[in-house]
Symmetry: C2
Subunit: 125 residues, 2 copies
DNA sequence: CGGCATCCCTGGGGATACTG
DNA sequence: CAGTATCCCCAGGGATGCCG
């Protein structure tokens, strides 16, 4: 399929880009993956995801909630408690993301090697 | 990584993040998808990928080449000619990326609907 | 044609402080 | 505890111009 499928593939690519824009940001997948193990409180997520600021965690959670990938359940107690969990849609996203993760694991050494070679080739120039 | 069950999943997530950092930028998947149809010249890629500047296209291609996902073949003629093509590793990446694309297509209306609802709920506040 | 180099500006995202 | 608000910095990336 070299030529004829160009048109519709392009429109698909835009969609893929949008998903990657959603999922490809710095923290979303880590949140999704963590919630893939089960519901978590805000502080649990913050502790579990290394290096995330509460600002970015909040923004990430808001974005995922907006897209219907996670739910946000507030328990107005003292101290307050907020639980996040994947929706069914969110869980379904877990599958292709894991596929990408498997690819990453499977090809990490290959990619790293390619980088070393490329860097070595370009250093002495 | 605080407890034992999250250990291996966390290290995987870092890898996934790295892949998404590579593939999740603004142009990489579009380049990969286009090259998935067959080798392309620089100008063909530029024309085929809407909105990309030659600067970003160059940077994207360099990054993908560095990671061993594409090859760059220079034909020193007048005018010069440069052909890009996916490597086997690059082709293998096409699979999980397409899986993500399929998810995007399958869930686009659902996600869009969730957004509309969320935005409507937050507008009147 | 296929680049690099330069300028410049936007916004992603960290650190910190305050609130219900 | 779970945020919101503010400040600030720097990398991503567009526009333009020059070169082999």
């Amino acid at each position: 399929m070299t030529n004829s499928s160009t048109v519709h593939h392009t429109s698909e690519c835009v969609r893929v880009s949008e998903v990657l824009a959603r999922v490809g940001d710095k923290w979303s997948i880590q949140v999704i993956a963590t919630l893939g193990e089960g519901p978590r409180r805000f502080s649990e997520l913050k502790r579990g995801i290394d290096g995330v600021s509460q600002r970015m965690l909040t923004l990430t959670l808001r974005g995922l909630e907006r897209d219907g990938l996670i739910t946000r359940k507030v328990t107005p107690s003292i101290p307050p408690r907020v639980d996040y969990a994947l929706t069914d849609v969110g869980k379904s996203l877990l599958e292709p993301v894991k596929a990408l993760g498997d690819w990453a694991i499977a090809n990490r050494t290959t990619v790293d090697a390619a980088r070393s070679i490329y860097d070595a080739r370009t250093d002495d120039m």
